[in-house]
């Protein structure tokens, strides 16, 4: 590699590859000419990004701790189903939300417990809980959509605070909370440590097992809240609606430069990853490329970013 390029790479060290690539995607979207830049579509983008942002926030912490949560989408579906069934049964919104959060917490605790206490590989544990959550949602609904929820939750979803849609505010609040947790609390410090060197943390006398469970419990909590947005958006619930959403969340985290192996990562990178994926999907929608091929293009995008990031790491490790 010639000297100028290497020096560019060194100066941009803190910048993950997602930044230039995200910009390219946004510019391409602006140029596609099917109304991407219309005010209505921009507002739509915010709504589309909100649920993904909520799933991707705890997913960043989980991946930083060398974990993975394949069950996020299935658990979100189950939370949404539980919420919708309670609403359809005439219960209040608060009860429904509490039940949904409860379901999320139970699955978070189960994932965290199996991973942290027993040292089982996270992808197998969460694959198992994926099956359980998906099965539970199918059994509860008999495989059908749940509707007839009244207007309450849809009205809440359409609410604006100071001109900003409520779902966007909820998602931004999740980002803020996660940011504070990760960078300004002991919990956040331990997240870095668990991913970096868990044994050192244990030998330092920290009950790492409990904090490790906490990471997954936080994921469950956020899924429970995100079910509010998912259910409100459709004013209905479907047992398999969110399955596959964990793919976008994991992709956003990986695009954002969070490492699976070294206990490092950045929340802002994940937010940029969420923005890139949302813009990409939206633009592909506008030009009429179906959702199945969008998945393929996200896969290709991940590959490009990973190749660039790892190449930059190699240059950095071998300067001169």
């Amino acid at each position: 590699m010639d000297a100028p390029l290497r020096s560019v790479s060194r100066r941009t060290r803190p910048l993950p590859a997602i930044v230039p690539i995200g910009l390219v995607v946004v510019v391409a979207a602006l140029l596609e000419g099917h109304g991407f830049a219309s005010a209505r579509n921009i507002a739509n983008l915010g709504l589309q990004a909100s649920i993904l942002l909520m799933l991707a926030m705890p997913m960043t912490l989980i991946i930083m701790s060398e974990g993975l949560d394949l069950s996020a989408g299935a658990v979100l579906s189950l939370c949404s189903v539980v919420m919708a069934m309670l609403l359809a049964g005439g219960h209040g919104l608060a009860t429904a939300l509490a039940a949904s959060i409860g379901v999320g917490l139970v699955f978070g605790a189960a994932n965290g417990g199996l991973v942290s206490l027993l040292g089982l590989p996270p992808f197998v544990v969460t694959l198992g809980t994926l099956g359980i959550a998906q099965g539970a949602a199918l059994v509860l609904t008999d495989g059908n959509a749940v509707s007839g929820l009244g207007r309450g939750i849809a009205a809440l979803y359409a609410e604006h605070v100071a001109g900003v849609p409520l779902p966007v505010i909820v998602a931004l609040a999740t980002w803020l909370v996660t940011h504070v947790l990760l960078y300004h609390t002991r919990f956040g410090t331990y997240v870095f440590a668990i991913g970096g060197n868990r044994d050192a943390l244990v030998l330092a006398g920290v009950p790492a097992w409990a904090w490790h469970i906490g990471i997954y419990v936080y994921g469950g909590l956020v899924s429970g809240v995100a079910a509010l947005l998912l259910t409100g958006r459709m004013n209905a619930a479907h047992p398999t609606v969110a399955i596959g959403m964990e793919f976008d969340a994991i992709a956003a985290v990986v695009l954002g430069g969070t490492s699976f192996e070294r206990g490092d990562g950045r929340l802002l990178g994940t937010v940029l990853g969420v923005a890139t994926i949302t813009v990409l999907r939206n633009a592909l929608d506008l030009v009429g490329i179906e959702s199945s091929l969008q998945v393929v293009s996200i896969g290709v995008l991940i590959l490009v970013v990973i190749v660039i990031d790892s190449a930059r790491r190699t240059w950095r490790a071998n300067p001169a």
Partner: protein
């Protein structure tokens, strides 16, 4: 041993004698045979339909399909890796094969298409893992969605059905009263066991799974062996796709997805350790029979299909737990 490792070893639970015994290969296989007999006895007593020849052959056929898909995954896990893309790989290759056969070409061209497509996907997995150094579960998870996406796109929500009898015989045919897929299972089991136990490459795969660093230092071409197992896993997905397609006589873009959890459960149920280096294809065959019995039993006992992911999920987690306890093995403390 460094002081840190010493301190960690001191707080690990000791491996007790019975745990050691349960972990031995022969005892582990015998235990699984006993479990199969017990389950068969229970089902025979609680349902009338279980003991009919047709039903028993049906269970075996179901088990052989799962075994074909699980055999490749077993090699990958023995080698210390993982392949989440096996079921999606089955879906895409079955759909492509269905398209080829339906277009009027020879069914054997369809079979070749399925095998080529699935092996290619497996080779890509291997390259992503060995050249890009991606974690196996991440690379194969991305591959899962890429293959699934291509299958959705290719099928466009449609179904392709109705294949020539010569092709269907691969899935539904009988030879001397035994279903054809059972012969395939026996052939793959025999060839695979011979390969793993009696060839250098097979033993090297075990060695890599047990300790990749030691294997590398012993001069084993670790990366090349890893690429081999992912390619073989792809190939087996293609073979399973052909058999599955021939049996159900229809292809759609959702056909493979329900198989993923049962297949992983079958491998782990067979005693192959997630941590690599321990297990066998024979164990996976028994695991596949156990899973087939579970699914058959649920059908016979009139339990709705919606319960299946839940039950299989619970079974999967239970098996992983038992694997952990049986081997007295923990990756970390605290």
């Amino acid at each position: 041993m460094t002081p840190v490792e010493g301190a960690l070893a001191a707080v690990r639970p000791p491996v007790t004698r019975w745990r050691h015994y349960l972990g031995s290969d022969t005892a582990a296989l015998a235990l699984r045979v006993a479990l199969i007999l017990l389950m068969a006895l229970g089902l025979a007593l609680s349902t009338d339909a279980f003991l009919s020849t047709a039903n028993v052959l049906n269970v075996l056929r179901q088990a052989s399909l799962m075994f074909l898909l699980a055999a490749g995954l077993t090699l990958v896990i023995l080698c210390g890796g993982f392949d989440l893309s096996v079921a999606a790989n089955l879906t895409l290759s079955a759909c492509l094969a269905a398209g080829v056969i339906k277009s009027g070409a020879s069914p054997w061209l369809g079979v070749a298409t399925a095998l080529a497509c699935s092996t290619f996907a497996g080779v890509l997995n291997g390259l992503a893992i060995t050249l890009l150094r991606l974690p196996a579960f991440l690379a194969t998870y991305a591959m899962l969605w890429i293959l699934q996406g291509l299958a959705f796109h290719y099928m466009g929500g449609q179904e392709i059905y109705g294949f020539p009898p010569a092709f269907r015989a691969l899935g539904t045919g009988f030879l001397l009263g035994v279903p054809v897929p059972v012969y395939l299972m026996a052939a793959v089991l025999a060839a695979g066991t011979l390969f793993m136990r009696n060839t250098n490459v097979g033993q090297e795969i075990y060695a890599i799974g047990a300790n990749p660093e030691a294997a590398r230092l012993s001069g084993i071409p670790v990366r090349r062996r890893q690429r081999l197992v992912y390619a073989l896993s792809g190939l087996m997905s293609g073979l399973a796709a052909v058999v599955y397609l021939a049996r159900v006589n229809a292809a759609d873009s959702g056909m493979g997805e329900p198989l993923l959890l049962p297949v992983i459960a079958a491998v782990l149920m067979g005693g192959t350790s997630l941590f690599g280096g321990v297990g066998s294809l024979a164990g996976t065959a028994l695991g596949a029979i156990i899973l087939a019995l579970v699914i058959n039993g649920m059908n016979l006992l009139d339990i709705k299909a919606q319960w299946q992911p839940l039950v299989v999920g619970v079974v999967l987690l239970a098996v992983v737990l038992v694997d952990l306890i049986g081997r007295g093995r923990r990756e970390r403390i605290g």
